[in-house]
Every structure is written in C-alpha cells, then in structure tokens.
C-alpha cells in the first residue's frame, strides 16, 4: 500500500485482507448536500431546508444517503479503478449531520475467477466522528492484469 501509482496501474496482486489507508471526507456542509441534490436530481428538501427537516422530526438537515454512497464510491474507485466496478451495493444505517466527517474504510474479503477474469469482493464502511457506521457497502471490482 505504499506505492499509490503502481497500484492504480495494476491491481492484479490484490489479495484477501488488503486494505487501503482510510480516507476522511468533510466536515460535510449543507452546500455539499445542495451540490449533490443538483447533480443527482434528488430534490427532497429534508436535505437542505431546515424548516422542512425539523417539521419532519429531525434535529436539522442531513446528508443524502446517496451522497454518502457517492463518497464511499470515490474511496473505492481511487483504490481499484472506476472502469473496474461491476457491483456496488450500499445500506444506509444512520444519518450524517452538517459538521460531521465521514471516514471511509475498505477491505478485500474474497478474490475469485469470473467470466471477465479475476475479481475482488470488498466491504466498505463510512463512519461518523463518534464511530457510528452511517453507511456500509459491498462491491465487486474486476482486477487489472
């Protein structure tokens, strides 16, 4: 895990247990939620309209689950390559609030031969500053030979 460039060019040596250095995103802001709303087309006001969010019973606006998924995917594709993804599956477990950071971790849990070649199954998690897992994911990436 010391040579980032070499790993970007060749992931054929990826093995079970491999884990990149964790990456911290944020602190997240309402502006980031608005930016993601526009990019994704998800205009649910609970993510940027404080009055709407509090009326719905939340203490404030909070990040879209899909924004957390997107941040986790940034971490994953920096590691194993955007063209290599074949499956990306997330579960939303808890909210991320303005001012929170999201720390992303990942580990290879399985490597197998598939129809396109060797592929890695990874598990991913995004944690709040208090250690609560806000989002978890499993994904499959084809490994580059």
């Amino acid at each position: 895990m010391t040579d980032e460039t070499a790993r970007m060019e060749n992931t054929s040596r990826v093995e079970v247990g491999d884990a990149p250095a964790p990456r911290e995103f944020g602190p997240v802001t309402t502006s980031m939620f608005v930016q993601y709303s526009g990019a994704s087309g998800d205009l649910n006001p609970v993510h940027y309209d404080h009055g709407f969010a509090t009326k719905a019973g939340y203490p404030s606006v909070f990040a879209q689950g899909m924004l957390l998924a997107a941040l986790l995917s940034t971490f994953a594709t920096d590691w194993l390559g955007p063209d290599q993804v074949r499956r990306f599956s997330v579960r939303f477990l808890d909210q991320l609030w303005p001012g929170d950071t999201l720390t992303c971790r990942g580990v290879v849990t399985h490597v197998a031969e598939g129809p396109e070649g060797r592929s890695a199954t990874i598990t991913l998690a995004g944690e709040r500053p208090d250690g609560t897992v806000a989002i978890s994911a499993t994904a499959e990436f084809l490994l580059r030979e």
Binding site: G41, L67, P82
Partner: protein, 141 residues
C-alpha cells in the same frame, strides 16, 4: 413530475450519458479521478441515479409514500461489463420488484418497496441495473 402509479412496469425512456453530467457528479462526490473527465469519461458507480432526470412525465414509477416519512434503505448497482461511458445512449425502464410491510418498533406499519431500473443498450441487452429499497416510516401515534 406526474408519475404513473397504476402499473408495476414503466415505459422506457432515453438516457444519454453526458461528459458534463459525469463531471458535475464527480465534483459532488469529491472525486478528482481523471477517468471521470473528458470525452470518454466513465460513469461513477452510483451515477445512474441521474437517469431519472431524463424520464418524461408519467414514465417514472411513483412510490406513493409520504415524503416526510420516506427513508432510503439501500441501493445497489450492477454492471454487466464495463460501466457506461460518455457518448453512450441507454434506455431505462423501471419495475417494482418487491413490496412488503413490517411492524414498526414503536407500533404502526413500515412499508417497503424495491424499484429496479434496467438500463439497456440499443440492442436491448441490459448493461446495468439499479435497485432501490425505499421505506416509509410508521406514522407517529
């Protein structure tokens, strides 16, 4: 957007994959990866959520859930080969794959819905699939 709630299978609509949209999405996901830039940019893993922005009125399926009680439980993307690239033209259609209910922890009924969006190429082959699990929290007593 008016939506079709009558049927469990929606009509298909065109989804052009555009480099500008990919660049905008990459910025929102805080990624500086060069593969998300330029004429042949690849779509990020969760990018296909943007496909609904191309849906004409009445085509996207309505979830029918109360927005103030709506939660997104999970989301899965499957790619049957390399992910789409800028310049590709896909055809999306939605279908309701599952519907179920559970008792809420504090009483009331939680409703679940799994909506699958199939993305096909010009030959009609499914190249990617997006599965969305939506939850409507129980109404407060």
């Amino acid at each position: 957007m008016s939506e079709n709630s009558a049927s469990g299978q929606g009509e298909s609509w065109e989804v052009p994959i555009e480099r500008g949209k990919i660049r905008e999405f990459a910025a929102a996901m805080q990624s500086s990866h060069p593969a998300y830039q330029g004429a042949g940019a690849v779509v990020p893993p969760t990018f296909l959520v943007t496909g609904r922005q191309w849906a004409p009125d009445g085509v996207a399926l309505a979830h029918g859930f109360d927005r103030s009680r709506l939660l997104h439980g999970g989301q899965e993307f499957v790619f049957y080969g390399p992910p789409p690239h800028a310049g590709d033209l896909l055809y999306a259609s939605e279908r309701i794959a599952e519907r179920y209910e559970k008792q809420g922890k504090k009483g009331g009924t939680m409703r679940f819905l799994v909506i699958v969006t199939d993305f096909r190429d010009a030959d009609g082959d499914v190249v990617a699939e997006s599965r969305s699990t939506l939850i409507e929290r129980a109404a407060s007593a």
